[in-house]
Every structure is written in structure tokens, then in C-alpha cells.
Symmetry: C2
Subunit: 103 residues, 2 copies
């Protein structure tokens, strides 16, 4: 399956607004997209402005579909104003290895 | 819940051995540890020697318990010979934010 690991650094004064956008996007993705199997958001215990998304899609086409959803557009708008301008977001496109089969 | 994001860089000639150790450790962790809820292994689509673990534990005590398991000792032994010596492993201790409640 297609996995996306996203590492994010949020401007300190923007954390609350960012988390609202992220909750909406992660919730809507799993609820409304049959191809989005998981969209977890975790926060660094040593730096609350440092977050990761862990997203799983049935395949890469499902991920491309995700990027056309209305909740994705809202999240991009929030990301533009909330993320650090230098190194605010790093995406790594991956494939699940284990567990096998993925569940 | 307690989450651990681990980023790994494997010596090219060691990938096969490393993946065997990782399959054993990730499978045994979820199977044998009631406090280990998820142990996913994903591989960068652009660099097969670049991997992530995404681990979820009921709480930090469950994670500390994980580090005393026999399969953890085997994995550490493999990691010592298989990972790049410089920047081979980065651990980030996190807390799950979404979905809420976590599932």
C-alpha cells in the first residue's frame, strides 16, 4: 500500500489554528475517502510545534484522489500560513512493508 | 497514546538481513505485547535503504516494556551491524493527537 510520512514544523503562534485544520482534514479523509485507510497525527513530546502525519492509502491513485478533495484544499490554505517558511514540511512517499498483508 | 516515529538508514549491503530482523521484531511486538497496538514498517519509494517505523503503545510504560522483550534484543543486534554509522537512526517520541479517540 501507499504510505505518506509528513514531518511538519508549525509557527508557535499558529499551533491552535493549525491543529483545527489538521483535525478536520484527517477526520474527513478517513471518513469520506474509501481509499484513505489511515490518517494519524502525532506530536513530538519534546517540541509541540513538531508534528508528523502518517497516512495510508490503498494505492497511489487513492493518494492523488485525496489531493483533489475539498478538505485537502482547506488544509493547504492553513498550511500556507501556519507552517514555518524554511523546512516547514517534508513529505516522504513510501510503500508499506510490514505487517504483511497490511491491515 | 504513546507513538514512536523512527527514521532509519540502512547500509546498502545489509538491507536483506535488516528486513528479516525488522519483520521478526515488528510481528512479535504486536503479537506478544498487549501494550503494542501498531508496529508498521514503511520504505521510501525513492530510496529503498531509507525506512520508517511507526509504533503505537497504550502508554509510555508499554513502550519501556517493549524494550525488555527478547525480540527487541535481537533487533538491536541487527541494527548495530546494519544501520549507517552516521545518522542511521533517529527516534522521535510522540503523543497521538488524531484520530481522537485513537483507534
Amino acid at each position: 500500500m501507499f504510505a505518506l510520512v509528513v514531518e511538519l514544523r508549525v509557527k508557535p503562534e499558529m499551533l491552535q489554528r493549525f491543529l483545527e485544520a489538521v483535525e478536520e482534514n484527517s477526520t474527513a479523509s478517513v471518513r469520506d475517502e474509501p481509499g484513505c485507510l489511515r490518517f494519524d497525527v502525532v506530536q513530538d513530546n519534546d517540541d509541540r510545534h513538531h508534528l508528523f502525519f502518517y497516512e495510508i492509502y490503498a494505492d497511489e491513485a487513492s493518494f492523488q484522489e485525496h489531493r483533489t478533495a475539498p478538505h485537502f484544499a482547506s488544509w493547504r490554505k492553513a498550511a500556507e500560513v501556519c507552517l514555518e517558511e524554511d523546512g516547514g514540511q517534508r513529505n516522504v512517499s513510501c510503500t508499506t512493508l510490514f505487517p504483511r498483508p497490511y491491515r
